[in-house]
């Protein structure tokens, strides 16, 4: 066994790798693959109906749904990307874990989840069909399916690239092994498999990465020691959250607090956490409404502490690494890019065994991200595209079979995208921007639909279309003429990071304005048609009979207190 693993290591790797894995590390990785495939084969027997396959039987506890909800977003790209951002921008990157998570996740649980759950829909586009009609569902479903499968391919390519740079693994080997594994276990167990592996990944990521902050803080001499070391090495404020944000020029991110508060916390975060079906699907799989409401709230607690294993390693690298990291474009012999922060810190502190666990956590993060995308794609394709437009009269068995084939199709399309990106790397940036076009306006469409009874089918469709197109127009304007950013962000000192935040804010506002104007000029649905879909026409079960500690609002208030304390400490 040991000899064959050593041979595998020799065959896979080349000399230009950052980390050398030993036999125990490879054994840990192999065991992970065996376990996820085993789980897939075990769960195959329970995925017998379309509800089992696409919604995990709607039988998940609040904890399983909550951890899965968080893990769907806790992929390796996310971890490595934000650790790199922490090295570049300091603690400001934490805004993407705090203001960009807790308010929107709690809002989803307390306000929006009852509508998703009570409407008995299978997906976010499914809710839009019930509330606004076919046109809005088609626009949202097709764009979501298209983007999801392409993002899955980009994730796959990114994983293969990381494995090549960090471990020296062959890029084709990484793409094919990970895709085949995901294809097998999701095709067999559907959302059951995806959720089980996401919860597994949650534990692996925490246990695999926790060594870095613990040993890092010992080496740095605690928080005060780390701050002193950072001040010795770089100029500027890298350790405060809000105080450097009174001007665009006063912080390394080049963003004003209004952009963070309204653009990020108010629009992008709400758009992502409340309408992206990739994450919402996990909460919808909960076994009852209370569990569905609790799932995102449970996730928000853990999300508040993710900076410990993502942002802190970036700050530790900034203060402790004996060399400076450089942008990806400046990487040359002997230089490392910002994106390599996390693997570098793993290699700094972890010996054999622990290193294997850390690398396995990264692989698990990539694979569960891919599985999440593919399972969400299969659901939306089957329920929101195939069933309404291609075959309305199929049996449940037929839709189950279509779901399994869609999973395979999704993986094949992802592999194709991965190879496309290999040859045209700029596609990656465009695709990520493309995904961001839909998030902000979609949130406006969904929230107006839930809270405003006067919103009409035409209002919803034209608002969503106008918001999306305006986002594309603003993005194109800045690509063609970068100076246009000053008009978008209302400041000549704004940096590229500000563009996303203000573009989202403007497109959200445009979507709301168009939806309201068109709705007021068109005929609304009757009250009977709005039953179970809109605030005021939906009877939502009250939590008042529950003990206070079982109420979702109690736990939502708890995370709000933690949030406020953290903002005060790092203000």
């Amino acid at each position: 066994m040991s000899a064959s693993l050593s041979m595998l290591a020799m065959w896979l790797t080349d000399e230009n790798r950052m980390i050398s894995l030993q036999t125990p590390d490879l054994l840990i990785i192999v065991i992970y693959f065996v376990m996820v495939l085993g789980i897939g084969f075990y769960l195959r027997r329970f995925a017998n109906t379309s509800d089992d396959f696409f919604m995990a039987g709607r039988d998940m506890s609040a904890w399983v749904a909550g951890l899965s909800f968080l893990s769907a977003n806790l992929g390796a790209l996310e971890l490595m990307g934000w650790a790199a951002a922490a090295y570049q921008y300091g603690i400001l990157a934490t805004h993407f874990y705090w203001i960009a998570a807790f308010p929107s996740m709690v809002f989803l649980g307390l306000v929006m989840m009852p509508f998703y759950y009570i409407s008995n829909t299978h997906s976010v586009p499914g809710y839009l069909q019930l509330r606004y009609g076919e046109a809005t569902r088609a626009l949202s479903g097709i764009s979501f399916a298209f983007m999801t499968v392409l993002m899955s391919g980009i994730n796959m390519y990114a994983m293969a690239l990381v494995m090549k740079v960090v471990l020296g693994w062959n890029i084709h080997f990484s793409i094919w092994i990970s895709s085949l594994t995901v294809a097998v276990y999701v095709t067999l167990g559907g959302l059951y498999s995806a959720i089980f592996n996401e919860v597994l990944q949650f534990f692996l990521i925490w246990l695999g990465a926790l060594t870095i902050p613990v040993l890092g803080m010992i080496e740095a001499g605690g928080w005060n020691g780390l701050v002193a070391k950072i001040h010795q090495r770089v100029q500027g404020d890298y350790v405060h959250l809000w105080s450097p944000m009174s001007t665009f020029a006063g912080n390394p991110m080049g963003v004003h607090w209004t952009g963070i508060l309204f653009g990020l916390g108010g629009v992008i975060a709400f758009g992502y956490w409340t309408t992206d079906f990739l994450v919402v699907q996990r909460a919808m799989a909960a076994k009852d409404l209370r569990s569905a409401k609790m799932a995102p709230i449970i996730a928000s607690y853990f999300k508040m502490f993710v900076p410990l294993i993502v942002i802190l390693p970036g700050l530790l690298a900034l203060g402790l690494l004996p060399f400076k990291l450089v942008p990806e474009s400046a990487v040359g012999p002997g230089l490392h890019s910002y994106n390599e922060v996390l693997p570098l810190m793993l290699a700094r502190y972890c010996g054999p065994g622990l290193l294997g666990l850390g690398v396995t956590a990264l692989i698990a993060g990539f694979m569960s991200g891919m599985a999440g995308n593919v399972s969400a794609f299969a659901t939306v394709w089957t329920y929101d595209i195939y069933r309404p437009y291609l075959n309305r009269t199929g049996t449940d068995k037929h839709y189950l079979l279509v779901g399994r084939w869609c999973t395979i199709l999704g993986v094949i399309a992802s592999i194709g995208t991965a190879y496309l990106v290999t040859h045209f790397k700029s596609i990656m940036d465009y695709m990520q921007a493309l995904v961001s076009f839909f998030i902000a306006p979609l949130f406006a469409t969904v929230i107006l639909g839930m809270l405003w009874k006067r919103a009409t089918a035409k209002g919803g469709f034209w608002g969503l279309l106008a918001g999306t197109l305006s986002s594309v127009a603003m993005y194109t304007a800045v690509v063609v003429n970068p100076a246009a950013l000053r008009y978008l962000a209302l400041s000549p000192d704004a940096k590229p990071m500000a563009e996303n935040l203000y573009r989202a804010l403007w497109s959200w506002i445009i979507c709301v304005v168009v939806t309201v104007i068109v709705s007021l000029c068109t005929t609304p649905k009757t009250e009977k048609e709005l039953q179970g879909l809109v605030y005021g026409f939906t009877s939502i079960p009250s939590d008042k009979g529950l003990a206070f500690y079982k109420r979702p609002i109690f736990w939502g208030a708890g995370v709000a207190v933690i949030f406020a304390v953290l903002q005060y400490i790092f203000w």
Binding site: I31, T49, R58, V64, E219, K287, G353
Partner: protein
């Protein structure tokens, strides 16, 4: 599309299956054994990592063993469990 297609009503299904916590327990238990075994060897064959004197692998292995063992024991399939 003129004809409206309503969403399919969702059914709740309960299957008697091993909980995810059991699989997590087994995996972490196996990892704990491997990491502890490898890390104990480091007392005689030290690895050149920063703060090697803290033996993070030993601590990590013990935590994984306890965590994984506890979960495996707690969620081991027994007669009478739902």
């Amino acid at each position: 599309m003129k004809e409206k297609v309503q969403d399919i009503p969702v059914h709740h299904t309960h299957h008697k299956m091993l909980p995810v916590w059991f699989f997590i327990g087994v995996l972490l238990l196996i990892y704990g054994v491997i990491i502890l075994f490898v890390s104990v060897r480091e007392y005689s064959h030290p690895t050149p990592v920063v703060l090697a004197e803290y033996h993070a692998g030993v601590w990590g292995g013990v935590i994984l063993l306890l965590f994984g063992g506890g979960y495996t024991w707690r969620f081991w399939p027994r007669a009478g469990r739902r």
